[in-house]
């Protein structure tokens, strides 16, 4: 028997929005700690974990572990019937046949009762073992969303490099390339430096690359300091040679980087863009990176958290 009441239907809506494009059917596990979901997307490239802590509900009652097999499409349809500030009550009995939802409007006397039939989903329960990450970056979620959206205009794969200097997102595509560097902010506010070039400039740029930019493959083995120097000189050179759209911008919350070792990984932008649907849930996002280990993207919010794991692209997979 499950009975859980949440004060704002909006949160539930946002959570569903954040996962429904990745997962169509999944088991929501209910136990004394709260309600959680853990599932891989259909192509088995990403894994999502949602946890809604029992603190988020008042009251919360769950007598025994029970999985609720739900088609997220159907659940979304039902949740859309609630207003954001409605009270939601989830109810399921032990038979596991259906999930009842009650929406109570806070200021009127309207009470809506809905129920959806549950699925019996036989699926392996998969997880990613917890590890110590080489670098953990915390940044404003809106900023991350913007970067992903902007860069996806140019290409499909994004390279994420974390170093002492900051975190750099870069993309290369048929029409040109782009990179965004976020520097670790001292105090509040982050410095954002943006470079982007269109096709015309590319030829020249490539010459530059060969001269000054460190070879990507060597990067991980390189010592940190000499590489930093190179990076700076590269930038300086670029600025002198070309008039670039470079601007500085101060965003409210800062970027914090905790770096054990520098890393550089490539990911599919399509998935990252999917993940950024969680942005409305939380103002901050945490990226945890390690070499040849899936990226962990974490959104913490009052009622719980959403975690995404995404496998890095390796070697010839880039060619796809």
């Amino acid at each position: 028997m499950l009975e859980a009441r949440m004060s704002e239907a909006g949160t539930l809506k946002k959570v569903l929005d954040a996962v429904r494009d990745l997962i169509s059917d999944a088991n929501w596990e209910c136990n004394e700690d709260g309600i959680s979901l853990q599932a891989m997307d259909n192509s088995h490239v990403a894994l999502v974990t949602v946890h809604l802590s029992q603190d988020a509900f008042e009251p919360y009652r769950c007598d025994r572990n029970m999985p609720l097999g739900i088609n997220l499409g159907s659940l979304t349809k039902v949740i859309k019937c609630a207003k954001d500030n409605d009270l939601v009550t989830l109810k399921a009995d032990d038979s596991g046949e259906s999930l009842g939802l009650t929406f109570e409007s806070s200021n009127t006397d309207r009470i809506g009762e809905y129920s959806i039939k549950l699925l019996d989903i036989d699926q392996e329960h998969l997880g990613i073992p917890t590890t110590q990450y080489d670098s953990v970056i915390s940044m404003p979620s809106a900023e991350f969303q913007r970067i992903c959206r902007d860069l996806s205009q140019l290409g499909e794969s994004i390279r994420v490099e974390a170093s002492k200097e900051g975190i750099r997102f870069s993309v290369e595509g048929d029409v040109g390339k782009a990179s965004v560097l976020l520097k670790q902010s001292s105090g509040r506010g982050i410095e954002r430096e943006e470079e982007s070039e269109e096709e015309e400039e590319e030829e020249e740029e490539e010459d530059d690359d060969e001269d000054v930019k460190p070879n990507v493959d060597d990067e991980d083995n390189d010592d940190v300091k000499p590489k930093d120097k190179k990076r700076k000189s590269a930038k300086g050179g670029n600025k002198k040679k070309k008039a670039k759209k470079a601007k500085k911008e101060v965003v409210e919350d800062g970027v914090s980087i905790s770096l054990q070792q520098q890393v550089s990984l490539t990911f599919s932008l399509k998935y990252l863009n999917n993940f950024t649907r969680s942005t409305p849930l939380s103002s901050r996002v945490t990226l945890s990176l390690s070499k040849d280990i899936p990226l962990l993207l974490e959104y913490e919010f009052g009622a719980g958290h959403i975690k995404y794991f995404l496998a890095p692209k390796i070697g010839d997979e880039d060619a796809e």
Partner: protein, 1073 residues
């Protein structure tokens, strides 16, 4: 021959699905497997042994006699040579007259080559006004002077004959035509071209382009038409008329070779006694090549390692020669000769010598035309075995591989290779079956499954190399496999009666046997028209045809009244609709009128001529009987005779011949109409074809009116009849009665009443009653087919997904079963339940993979739109170029789950890859894109609105999603153990069940044990099934046959056993209960 191939084959290790705790229970699936077992396939090695026992109890095994019987003494001046000619070709020695080489076999089995001389090519032109016999000499001189070479004359004779042109009615008088006979075919073609371009100017007789007649027929066919020789017919060369050659002067390897003048030969029409067949020697063979890993064998690198041969005499059931040529030693095979060679060149040479000695008349095999023969030829070339190429019967003619492009409306476009082998017919079963049968897959295996009802072992080509490099024992295994592949085409040939049917087709249409596969329909009709023209004194114009895209209106379809009819629906058919229309209205080239002729001859409409609904005019049969109606009349009455003869014939072989004959006659009669409508054919005549269809349309509509106006309550019938549907040549009538008997009685009556309203020989026939009848749409219906009152004949479906190939097999199975339940069992509820059950199994991943495979032919490399099979072929090429499907192959694929929004073509995957990696199948795709529409179509007429619930009801709420071993995140992910009772993730020490389910642990353990043993039993059965199929219970199964559903089941079962055993093991670790 190894055409189908598969990437990195896994030799199936006999894994021992852990035997502890095994408890044999009766598995639910065993029933299904049991039925497979019933068709017990005995070991092919045993079959071979039996063949030996039956065939030659007396002679030792090595005593298989290859050669033909020796010719007894005979007197060429007295004894006639009577033989069945099988191949006929034009031959010419430069500077001499052309002659015909006729290859054949006598009743005693001696091979014959007759060089028929004295037959010369000719053409006709209409004699210009004023041209008389006196002008002939001058004209001949003119032509010799203009076209002759170095004073050599090209014209042999010029005569004047009175004839009529086939084209159009211009009154009854006959007019003079000039027949020009040439010394060779080439000169004829040249002169013909000049006539047609208007380049002949002789005494002002010809100024413009001149229409030539009878000039566009090849020399060999011309000979056959003039000498009344039909394909595969019997020929007598009377004693004394021929000049027998002694071995030194022979140009061929035939036992009897002689020269004869064409006037001396006697051609027997294929009737009565002369319907027999000579004891043709039929060689069926198959080769194996040792390919390299991942690469399809290439003749310049990869050796031929085995050639298996089976030679059978036509009319006998067992092959009398069975042997296999192997590279390197091979262990003894009972019932077959084994000829081992250390050197490949020697082996090829020995095989060629074998061909020469065994001297087959017909060579058959599976895909031999495009693979085996070209491969052998290319391999011999690569090895510089120059003598190999002489495979034909002529001593000095080398066989060469050429490519041909065949394009026909009826048979589609195909590129193929051809290798000339004089005197031997080649019949590639693959090509034949592709032409005549529409199948899902044309691999030898699935064809055998279809026609012989058995699966065959399919060994991947990389395994072949392994076996070859092994021991004599392993090579023996390969040899048995190869022998089987050589034997199967022979069995297919027997089962399909191909040789007999094709022979009858050649006899009926009068074309050489070789034309049947190499050419389309139109040459057959042309041959018949020419033959009839000759009899009736017509000349066939050689039209220069520009292909045009003129489309004329086809047949009509009466708008169907959709629904489910639980009353008898009577079906009336016009028998041979188009031929009978052409006969009834005297539609022919010879009766076609233009308005000018109507005026000139003062013809009266309705009396002398008729106007068709298409506004074309034809004279009536009183004025002149058309030629096509005569041709058709002959065909139809011949068919009637043949069918009558079948009833009286006792001898099964002669029955088969007659059946082949009546089939050939039927096809021929129907193709006459198509011939007149083929705009790129030899004699297109759209007024005939469009008038024919116009009459057809009118008749269907008229029939509907007549039925509905006659069968009315006001005419004292119990109900108003209604025509619920009609298409081309049939109408479906609902008389309203509830019982079959009345429906049949009314049907027979109506057929008579309505037939009487149409001119002879148009006849409406009552054939069958559908009861019940499910009418879905135009050209889509199903019903139970009744011809008698006691029992229905069959379930008949048209245009429903039971037969289509572009969807997965599951659709066909489900639809067929549903229709069966609805129409035969009359239990709609059962059909619904069945459907729900299947859908539920599908969503739980329990449906067999072979049911979900979709196949599509890869016809070209560049498609405009992305298509699933093309994309998959591309991806497979990247993975392993050798096993990827090639152009023309049918690509098999399944649709797997992908990220949201990915198109179906991105989600196509090779079934074997899916099986090996446990990639989740996109069950929703199969439900929504494959099953839903066909299911709704058949259920909607019965259930109405409720039909939708079939796809969304409660049975769709249990789903299973497989966990693949591939995919970006899979190498990082770990499985969290879930409780076997409630699926909640488990932490800590509990290994099998969570603490909530602890009380149920015993029960769950019991359940798991029985499921493991059930799976083990199932796997063991499948394994044995495959061992039986491969013919040995002692060896591992190496078959990876993608067409075999057992293979998929076996793979899957192997996987399931392993995972079930793992699950069971968790109880061992769990000490808490």
């Amino acid at each position: 021959m190894r055409v189908n191939s598969k990437e990195n084959i896994r030799v199936e290790e006999i894994e021992n699905p852990v035997n502890k705790k095994r408890k044999v229970t009766d598995d639910t699936k065993s029933g299904k497997l049991g039925s497979q077992n019933d068709k017990k396939q005995s070991d092919f090695a045993d079959i071979l042994e039996n063949l030996q026992d039956d065939a030659e109890q007396s002679s030792a095994e090595s005593g298989q006699v290859w050669a033909r019987p020796r010719i007894p003494k005979f007197e060429p001046m007295v004894d006639s040579v009577i033989f069945q000619q099988i191949d006929l070709e034009e031959a010419s020695i430069p500077g001499a007259e052309p002659f015909i080489r006729m290859h054949g076999v006598t009743q005693e089995g001696f091979s014959v080559l007759a060089n028929v001389s004295g037959f010369l090519p000719y053409l006709y032109i209409a004699a210009p006004r004023g041209f008389t016999a006196e002008d002939s000499e001058g004209f001949s001189g003119y032509l010799n002077a203009s076209f002759g070479n170095n004073g050599k004359s090209i014209v042999s004779a010029i005569d004047i004959h009175n004839r009529r042109s086939l084209w159009g009615y211009r009154g009854d008088e006959i007019s003079p035509f000039i027949k020009i006979t040439f010394v060779d075919q080439r000169s004829m073609t040249r002169v013909r071209g000049c006539f047609e371009r208007g380049e002949i100017h002789f005494r002002d007789f010809f100024d413009d382009a001149i229409q030539t007649y009878e000039s566009n027929i090849s020399y060999d066919l011309r000979f056959m038409i003039d000498k009344k020789v039909v394909g595969m017919s019997w020929i007598e060369c009377p004693g004394g008329a021929y000049n027998l050659k002694q071995s030194a002067s022979k140009v061929s390897k035939a036992q009897l070779e002689f020269d004869i003048h064409h006037k001396d030969i006697i051609a027997y029409p294929a009737d009565g006694e002369w319907q027999k067949m000579a004891p043709l020697r039929i060689l069926s063979f198959d080769i194996e090549c040792a390919g390299r890993q991942g690469i399809f064998p290439e003749p310049h690198i990869d050796p031929v390692i085995q050639i298996a041969n089976m030679v059978t005499r036509q009319g006998e059931t067992k092959p009398f020669i069975r042997n296999v040529f192997t590279l390197k030693s091979c262990a003894h095979i009972a019932g077959s000769q084994v000829l081992s060679f250390e050197d490949e060149t020697k082996m090829l040479q020995a095989w060629r010598d074998f061909i020469e000695e065994a001297d087959p008349d017909v060579i058959i095999g599976y895909n031999i035309a495009n693979f085996d023969i070209p491969y052998l030829m290319d391999r011999a070339k690569a090895l510089k075995a120059t003598k190999f190429a002489y495979l034909g019967r002529m001593k000095n003619v080398k066989s060469e591989v050429g490519s041909s492009h065949f394009s026909s409306k009826a048979y589609g476009t195909r590129d193929s290779k051809q290798t000339n082998m004089e005197g031997r017919l080649q019949l590639d079963l693959l090509q034949l079956i592709q032409r005549e049968h529409k199948l899902r897959s044309y691999s030898l295996n699935s064809v055998c499954a279809e026609f012989l009802g058995e699966q065959k072992e399919d060994v991947h080509h990389s395994i072949i190399t392994e076996l070859q490099n092994g021991t004599p024992e392993s090579r023996r295994r390969l040899a048995v496999y190869c022998l089987k592949d050589a034997y199967l085409p022979q069995r297919l040939l027997d089962r399909l009666m191909s040789l007999v049917n094709q022979t009858e087709m050649a006899r009926v249409t009068g074309v050489p046997f070789n034309y049947l596969l190499a050419k389309g329909q139109s040459i057959k009709v042309m041959s018949q028209i020419c033959r009839q023209s000759q009899v009736h004194g017509y000349l066939v114009p050689a039209l220069r045809v520009e292909g045009s895209d003129d489309q004329y209106e086809g047949a009509t379809v009466i708008e169907p009244r959709r629904g489910y009819f639980d009353v008898p629906i009577t079906t009336l058919d016009f028998s041979s609709l188009y031929p009978s229309i052409m006969m009834a209205h005297n539609l022919c080239y010879t009766t076609l009128l233009d308005s000018h002729t109507v005026e000139r001859l003062q013809l009266k409409e309705g009396v002398d001529y008729i106007k068709t609904p298409n506004n074309d005019m034809f004279v009536t049969s009183d004025k002149r009987k058309g030629l096509l109606p005569v041709v058709l009349q002959d065909l139809i009455s011949a068919r009637k005779r043949a069918r009558a003869d079948i009833k009286n014939e006792k001898d099964p072989f002669r029955r088969a011949v007659l059946d082949g004959r009546q089939l050939a006659l039927k096809v021929s009669a129907n193709s006459v109409y198509g011939f007149t409508g083929a705009t790129i054919g030899k004699l297109p005549c759209l007024p005939i074809s469009s008038s024919t269809t116009a009459y057809g349309r009118r008749m269907i509509e008229r029939t509907k009116e007549e039925v509905e106006s006659h069968y009315k309550v006001s005419n004292n019938y119990s109900h108003d009849a209604e025509v619920v549907y009609g298409d081309t040549d049939s109408v479906m009538i609902k008389f309203g009665c509830k019982d079959l008997e009345t429906a049949m009685k009314l049907g027979a009556e109506a057929a008579g009443v309505i037939s009487s309203k149409f001119p002879n020989p148009i006849k409406l026939e009552f054939e069958k009653v559908y009861y019940p009848y499910l009418l879905i749409n135009k050209k889509r219906y199903a019903g139970l087919y009744w011809t008698g009152l006691e029992k229905y004949d069959k379930m008949d479906t048209k245009g429903i997904e039971t037969v289509r190939r572009d969807n997965c097999r599951l659709v066909g199975t489900v639809i067929t079963t549903c229709l069966h339940k609805m129409l035969i069992d009359r239990d709609v509820k059962a059909a619904e339940d069945y459907t729900k059950n299947v859908i539920s199994e599908l969503l739980q991943n329990k449906v067999d993979m072979s049911q979900l495979v979709i196949t599509k032919a890869l016809t070209k490399t560049e498609y405009d739109a992305k298509q699933a099979h093309v994309c998959l072929a591309e991806r497979m090429r990247k993975r392993d170029a050798g096993s990827a499907p090639a152009l023309g192959d049918r690509v098999a694929y399944v649709i797997v789950k992908g990220s949201k929004g990915a198109a179906a073509y991105e989600r196509s995957e090779d079934p074997l890859y899916v099986l090996e990696n446990n990639v989740p199948i996109d069950t929703k795709y199969y439900l929504e894109n494959q099953l839903s529409k066909p299911l709704l179509r058949i259920f909607e007429p019965i259930l109405g609105e409720k039909a939708g619930s079939l796809l969304t009801g409660d049975h769709t709420r249990t789903i299973t999603v497989a966990t693949p071993s591939v995919g970006g995140l899979m190498k990082f992910a770990v499985k969290t153990v879930t409780c076997l009772g409630c699926k909640a993730p488990i932490r800590g020490s509990e290994a099998a069940v969570c603490k909530n389910c602890k009380s149920k642990a015993g029960e769950l353990y019991q359940k798991q044990v029985s499921s493991v043993s059930a799976l083990q039993v199932q796997f063991a059965r499948l394994w044995t099934q495959c061992q039986r199929c491969q013919g040995s219970l002692h060896q591992d199964v190496i078959c990876t046959n993608k067409d075999c559903n057992i293979f998929y089941m076996r793979q899957r079962s192997k996987f399931e056993v392993a995972s079930a055993v793992n699950t069971l093991d968790r109880f061992d670790d769990d000490n808490s209960w």
